[in-house]
Subunit: 306 residues, 2 copies
Amino acid sequence: MINKLVDKIKKTEAPIVVGLDPMLSYVPEHILNKAFDEYGKNLEGAAEAIWQYNKGIVDAVYDLIPAVKPQIAMYEQFGIPGLIAFKKTVDYCKEKDLVVIGDIKRGDIGSTSAAYATGHIGKVVIDGQTFRGFDEDFITVNPYLGTDGIKPFADVCKEEKKGMFILVKTSNPSSGEFQDRLIDGKPLYEHVAKKVVEWGADVMGDSYSYIGAVVGATYPEMGKVLRELMPKSYILVPGYGAQGGKGKDLVHFFNKDGLGAIVNSSRGIIAAYKQDKYSQFGSEAYADASRQAVLDMKEDLKQAIR
Amino acid sequence: MINKLVDKIKKTEAPIVVGLDPMLSYVPEHILNKAFDEYGKNLEGAAEAIWQYNKGIVDAVYDLIPAVKPQIAMYEQFGIPGLIAFKKTVDYCKEKDLVVIGDIKRGDIGSTSAAYATGHIGKVVIDGQTFRGFDEDFITVNPYLGTDGIKPFADVCKEEKKGMFILVKTSNPSSGEFQDRLIDGKPLYEHVAKKVVEWGADVMGDSYSYIGAVVGATYPEMGKVLRELMPKSYILVPGYGAQGGKGKDLVHFFNKDGLGAIVNSSRGIIAAYKQDKYSQFGSEAYADASRQAVLDMKEDLKQAIR
């Protein structure tokens, strides 16, 4: 799957992943009203609204981008109906041949990590028949529990030729509280990065490993160091746009071949129609605003990486 | 909810939480066959089997214990049907007046952590009406992202009078890879523990905070230090039984008042009938074996704490 991701990034010339992190407050009224009319003003109605909203965006941008990253929390907040909308979104994006990165930030130990891996990138076999719970292509994973927590995910990645991005340095202001603390003279995130390289060496694709890393756009200097520490790991970069990261901050996240990083934008694309810059589209044409925002982001990144 | 947990621990004289972490291989054949006959040999059938298995155990032990801890990964592996079984289990345990600790180990930042908190311990309000996605009483949370990741959970805990246990020192063999590394002369888990105290000070119950910590039974010496560092934090202790922790290892996890810790056992109780010690019960009476295992664990802990 890492090979497919790299191929699609080359073909689209867009190292971009659109974060499908819908909030009810982003959903235009015409979609919201229709969903509530059909399903009621309840969790089912809310879930239908975010699914229809997602579908509109995916239809408008799928030919421009290699991948999407649905954030499962935004669906999980609506309980079972929300998780059904998550599954519909994953399945629909795969129909559109997009690479799907499930932003699930799971992490546990032994059989529990194995169960998460089974549910999201693996399969259940019952009496010789195969079933898949959610079936994303990549997932994000938290490293706090160490190798015991990662190994079961890596085993499933290997078997299924899928992948994961491990949290190394997150984009938020307080990420330094633990991640930046010095251990033997090096910050914790560098120790995690070294483990990412070690874990990833066993599951190599053609040019990059099945195991990548998450490093926030908001920390470009650290991105530079981490790029060099993990030459064969794809870096998933959140924090562009709404969180403050700019195109020019991102240049060091890429390798000299112009590859090695994929930049996420969520709100900046899916709720583009709410920005002054794209307000001419209006809420009915919210998906066209998202398409324009992808094109603008592609240009911004192109300028930066050049 | 921390007050209710402490009250129930006092009443039952059992600082025990039963981990409802069902694996299909634990489910007795008579339950499995019935579920597959009714729902088919598929995810729905598997989910029905683990729900019926859980229900049998809960019916057999609910009067002995204060709390249960369903591990969501074991349900999530079966996709949507599995998560429906998780919800049924949570709801049923609450009907039985058990405190429900959702072992979900979520953790993200800002609006994403807020969404997880909404889904598991909070509520969605649509047009003045309130809906709850999963509605556990406590959850477990990963601290790697720092205060930004914890604050949204703490806000919901405060509003809903619910609680969380933050991973401090996990029970697995490789937990030391990052958690034990020295920062300014102290292991990372102590730095996390200090933050747990800081975060918890703002959400105090009568004698303990809404915010507790997870510390593995497999590290008793560290448990002793952490007990002293976090005097007002309840400690959720996994790793007893199947993972190797024994009653006598647990004494230091408790405060002098005999409170302050709640010890989890999963496989050791829910799959007790598979142990030689309880084999006389047989698979039909698996739940009676679980009841006996709870009684034995209660006695083991009583001896240790005395």
